[in-house]
């Protein structure tokens, strides 16, 4: 019985490996995205974008005359699955580099695997602990949450709002945001007078808002991803809440405006520049890349490109640059990646170094405001 199973397994394995026969002269890049599962909202645009960019590179003749092959696996948002698929990319597919995974948890689980195999990884997840402390083979393209916090605090400081209430969601995104909000507050002379949380599936946050309204807070910062912040915006409107509300970059998509409706008007948040690509001044160094990405995505998928797709765009383009400069072996790619300077991508202007594998500053973000159901740059 066991032997039967074993024979079955071996046959399947043979079939799999023969279909993946080596195509000579191509550069193989692996990708791990959670295209299904809870983080599908990240993984799907990331995979779509990566495919689009790689197709574009191949149409233009490849990198140094070599075609690029993208091997993408779905991780379902599960760290165990991510580890298995990373092992598959390295051992069975022999990729030279991996982009993804989509979430911080999956990335943390995959790091030991790539470090041991000496294969460079460019994560599309935001958690700052991915590159802090620096790992030899691990880079990331998504902006650190700390940069978004710094952008808001910078704005608050300029507008003389010092007493702040924070309301964060109790999941990975909210926990990381809360940590950064608390850590950076003293540096900007900000005092957190209320520190409250809500559950990712909560449908009413009136009680938290009532408590905040009764406090001395001059502004409220909400840290979460859809749909929670939209519920908060609506509750605040119902309560006649007067404090200015700041959201996180986690809701900088049209979906948020659709969910919150008119209650979104006037809310401010730090965001990557994708959503205001058209409105950016001509001299912005990222403008060309942003417009190319937005138009390309619109053309291919009939949807608007978002930040998450942008992370994958940056990852593929960074790899392309590194292979052009250094060659297509994992070690050369790693070394060339680390020497990347002034790469103007979607998420910001990247400057990697031996001490910094995240490569961005708070200028990667821009403060935007919701006006007339669209985004405008806040001043």
């Amino acid at each position: 019985m066991k032997t039967l199973l074993m024979i079955g397994c071996s046959v399947c394995l043979l079939v799999c490996s023969s279909t993946l026969a080596l195509a000579a002269g191509t550069i193989k890049i692996g990708a791990l995205f959670s295209v299904t599962g809870p983080p599908a909202f990240l993984g799907e645009p990331e995979r779509n974008t990566a495919k689009m960019v790689v197709d574009g590179i191949n149409r233009a003749g490849g990198i140094r005359g070599q075609k690029v092959e993208l091997i993408a696996y779905d991780t379902v948002g599960d760290p165990t699955k991510a580890v298995q698929m990373a092992t598959r990319l390295i051992k069975d597919d022999h990729v030279v580099a991996i982009i993804g995974p989509s979430t911080t948890g999956e990335t943390m689980a995959v790091i030991p695997v790539v470090e041991r195999a000496h294969v460079p990884l460019i994560s599309c997840a935001a958690g700052s602990k991915i590159t802090d402390p620096v790992k030899h083979y691990v880079f990331k393209t998504a902006q650190n949450d700390g940069l978004a916090v710094a952008k808001i605090y910078d704005y608050l400081q300029r507008h003389r709002q010092q007493r702040v209430a924070i309301l964060t969601v109790s999941d990975g995104f909210g926990a990381s945001g809360r940590e950064q909000l608390k850590a950076l507050a003293p540096r900007y002379g900000i005092r957190l007078v209320v520190d409250d949380t809500y559950g990712p599936k909560d449908t009413d946050m009136t009680s938290q808002l009532t408590r905040i309204r009764a406090s001395q807070a001059q502004a409220l910062i909400v840290w979460g991803t859809n749909p929670g912040p939209a519920v908060i915006a609506r509750n605040a409107r119902q309560l006649g809440f007067r404090l200015p509300i700041y959201m996180s970059h986690g809701v900088s998509s049209k979906k948020f405006i659709a969910l919150a409706g008119s209650a979104a008007e006037g809310l401010k948040l730090p965001s990557g520049k994708v959503i205001v690509a058209d409105a950016l001044p001509k001299k912005d160094p990222q403008k060309n890349a942003l417009l190319a990405f937005v138009k390309g995505y619109q053309h291919q998928y009939r949807q608007e490109g978002d930040h998450f797709g942008g992370h994958a765009w940056d990852a593929v383009m960074l790899l392309k640059g590194a292979i052009e400069r250094g060659g297509a072996t994992p070690a050369a790619i790693r070394d060339a990646l680390e020497r990347t300077r002034n790469f103007h991508g979607i998420g910001g202007t990247f400057n990697y170094s031996a001490a910094d594998h995240a490569g961005l500053t708070k200028d990667a973000f821009i403060m935007v405001e919701v006006r007339n159901r669209g985004w405008v740059i806040a001043n």
Binding site: M1, K2, T3, L5, M6, C9, S10, C12, L13, C16, S17, T19, T36, P38, Y73, G77, D78, P79, T80, V83, Q84, M85, T87, R88, I90, K91, D92, T104, G105, M108, A109, I111, P112, R116, G127, K129, S170, D171, G172, G174, A175, S176
Partner: protein
């Protein structure tokens, strides 16, 4: 008994030789997790298959083992080999204490209570950020090591995990054939009758619950040290249900059933990847077909498929003779 030993040895040899077929492939890595799932399924089967008590919260014990090992080794710098028995023992004791009120319940109510237990533990993992690292998980858990031999490669982890899994299977085999095992089955079939015959049903149920929890905690510790990263989502309600599915698909109340179930449910998604976006549909379909046509689980159903045509032919032959 002799035949049981032979079966066990056959399975053990197959498991120990499997890496020869899979070396250099990621499937070895998948098989490491299949080993952990086997331990969990075998442990759950002690409770569900033998004693006939349902649990929808076993992922909680799995998670408690993982988090105890993770927190004690990273935050407090304990030796991993020391934390494993400590974790298993303390989870066992916890289950023993919780087991008394919970296992008084029967049927749907027991299912609800264990479900609640699982959800409570999951919420604690998520919300007790200072200790567990919260939803963003706990990283930097050390690998196990023996002297200078560090269990960090797939092959080493394979042997580490599967030797533990084989021990669990041996334990399960022996338990099933002992006086206790017979008592469990008596409780399963008719609890009142068992009590009339002098079986201390209440204590036995709690004991098997605790044993099952302790083995799950051990599997959790192994998971933590193999992955070196854990996050609460791994130990949620879905995992509890998946474990139960492994036991049911494999075959309730046998040692090799859960083993086959765990192997199948861990490996099947990998083989179905060829079907791209339709893999989930096919996966669900296969599970339905298996439960309909192999109601006793794989362990009884597959030999049954074999015997059925034989029996048919024999019946035909008899009819022709007559």
């Amino acid at each position: 008994m002799r035949r049981g030993l032979l079966n066990y040895l056959l399975v053990a040899v197959c498991i120990l030789l499997a890496p020869l077929f899979f070396s250099g492939s990621y499937l070895l890595n998948v098989l490491v997790f299949a080993g952990i799932n086997t331990m969990l399924a075998v442990a759950l089967n002690l409770l569900v298959g033998y004693a006939g008590q349902i649990s929808l919260g076993h992922a909680a014990f799995f998670g408690l083992g993982a988090y105890l090992s993770g927190v004690l080794t990273t935050t407090y710098g304990w030796d991993p080999w020391l934390t494993m028995p400590v974790a298993a023992l303390s989870v066992g004791i916890l289950a023993f204490i919780v087991g008394f009120p919970i296992l008084k319940l029967k049927g749907h109510y027991l299912a609800m209570a264990t479900l609640g237990l699982g959800i409570i533990v999951y919420i604690v993992f998520n919300e007790w950020v200072d200790v567990t690292g919260g939803p963003s998980g706990l990283s930097g858990i050390p690998n196990l090591h023996l002297g200078t031999l560090v269990f960090d490669g797939d092959r080493r982890n394979y042997y580490l995990v599967w030797s533990c899994a084989l021990c669990c299977m041996l334990l399960s085999c022996n338990l099933a054939n002992s006086r206790l095992g017979r008592a469990f089955r008596a409780i399963h079939d008719a609890e009142v009758a068992a009590r009339v015959l002098g079986v201390n049903a209440r204590l036995l149920k709690v004991q098997v619950f605790a044993l099952s929890a302790a083995v799950c905690a051990l599997a959790g510790s192994l998971y933590a040290h193999v992955m070196t990263f854990i996050e609460p989502a791994t130990f949620g309600f879905n995992t509890s249900v998946e474990l139960l599915t492994m036991v049911v698909i494999g075959g309730l109340g046998s040692t090799y059933g859960p083993f086959l179930g765990a192997l199948l449910l861990t490996l099947l998604p990998e083989f179905l990847r060829v079907m791209r976006d339709y893999d989930i549909v096919f996966y669900g379909g296969m599970l339905m077909v298996m439960t309909i046509f192999l109601p006793g689980g794989l362990v009884r159903g597959i030999p049954g498929l074999w015997h059925k045509p034989l029996a048919l032919r024999r019946a035909k032959g008899d009819a022709a003779d007559a």
